[in-house]
Point group: C2
Chain length 237, copies 2
């Protein structure tokens, strides 16, 4: 007998982008699910495929496209029973429309959810700071989602953005330490100094490093927002 | 283009038993993989299906069998491309032979790996203490695996075993706190007082609570051993 509440959706996670961020996202889905027993939790299928080519290099035109890998993951998850798909990687959303056009499945968009969260919960905000990877900036994912909501996006100065990418690759290579955390806080502070009213953790490696306590203004944690929305959509349609 | 090193195997995790233990196991696979970039990590597919009926009740004859749920997970993972399967739940291994007979895929057995680890790394040990769920004890999974290796298994006295199950369900319901940790340490100490030479964390919720620093003798962490062996088999066949 396989018990599966028909009123709940099965979540499919296109993961491995990177693996630590996928594990972090999975843990947040669990933490955000009201549950007293194992069986109260949601059915989640994860395709953690870190072999997917580097998204930033692809968008910069210096590496192969990750699209086929995303497409295979999405199809694999749908075939396995996923009713709604998510990608805990902001930059990967540059390929989201192409993925959705192939799999035709409900897809919860991390950038849309984060932008919508700012609009709903911080309605006075007009200037948002953005910590995101090069490919995410180049694709203007947040710039477009926020400008629709009359919010200006401020990203790091080019040399600092390059430092930011260095930190992200360090986290992927060897995890988080005090030096990485302080360097990331200093980057966020350069945005705060320019008058942004919130800082968006627009890369799923950022919340592995920074928490709300590290900033003097609200941190918009895209991983946490996506996890909460996932639980919401899985339980309520 | 989908890059996937043919020399590496894709790991399939029959998960959700419970979800926190699955997330913990996934994180340990990541931590135990030598990697400098995302792409160095292993392809892991997780079917986190917490709707699987309670294993302990099934083994006690008071609830429905989880077998069909395990079978569907295993088939789903195999179809999605998993080359080797694991279950980060000791008790679920009471159903392992039946699952393997259906899916016919390499299966890394958590109990065999933990027993083999003791034999290899603690060769003088003759008496092992066991913290494991009722269904795991009733199925004699560790008793059999260890007696083959001439090691005696000592489990908790019946009233303490009942306290242990209470703690496991508390961890599943509301996570870990100091009270739960101290109560679990006290249970382990009753085994140590009876002369066991190692304590086996033979339930994947135990390492969410106890670490080596909490015990005066070696803790045999079945989750960590399975994660390391998984990485080994996926990389080396």
């Amino acid at each position: 007998m396989e018990i599966d509440s028909k009123s709940e959706k099965t979540i499919g996670i296109i993961g491995g982008l990177g693996p630590q961020a996928t594990a972090d996202f999975f843990s947040r889905i669990i933490r955000n699910t009201p549950a007293k027993t194992d069986q109260d939790h949601l059915h989640v299928i994860i395709d953690n495929n870190p072999k997917t080519p580097n998204r930033n290099n692809a968008i910069a035109g210096t590496g192969p496209s990750p699209f086929d890998s995303f497409k295979h993951s999405a199809l694999r998850l749908k075939q396995a029973g996923a009713d709604l798909l998510v990608m805990p990687c902001n930059t990967a959303h540059a390929f989201k429309d192409a993925i959705v056009s192939v799999v035709n499945t409900q897809f919860i968009d991390i950038v849309d959810e984060a932008a919508s969260h700012i609009q709903t919960h911080y309605s006075g905000v007009r200037k948002a700071g953005l910590l995101a990877a090069d490919g995410c900036l180049q694709s203007r994912l947040y710039h477009d989602a926020l400008s629709k909501r009359k919010i200006e996006t401020l990203s790091l100065a080019p040399d600092l953005q390059s430092n930011f990418m260095g930190l992200i690759y360090r986290v992927k290579a060897s995890g988080v330490n005090t030096e990485v955390r302080q360097a990331m806080m200093a980057l966020a502070d350069t945005l705060i100094d320019q008058g942004v009213e919130v800082v968006i953790a627009g890369c799923t490696e950022v919340p592995l490093v920074l928490g709300q306590d590290d900033l003097s203004i609200p941190l918009i944690d895209s991983t946490e927002i996506l996890a909460k929305q996932c639980v919401h959509y899985a339980r309520n349609g």
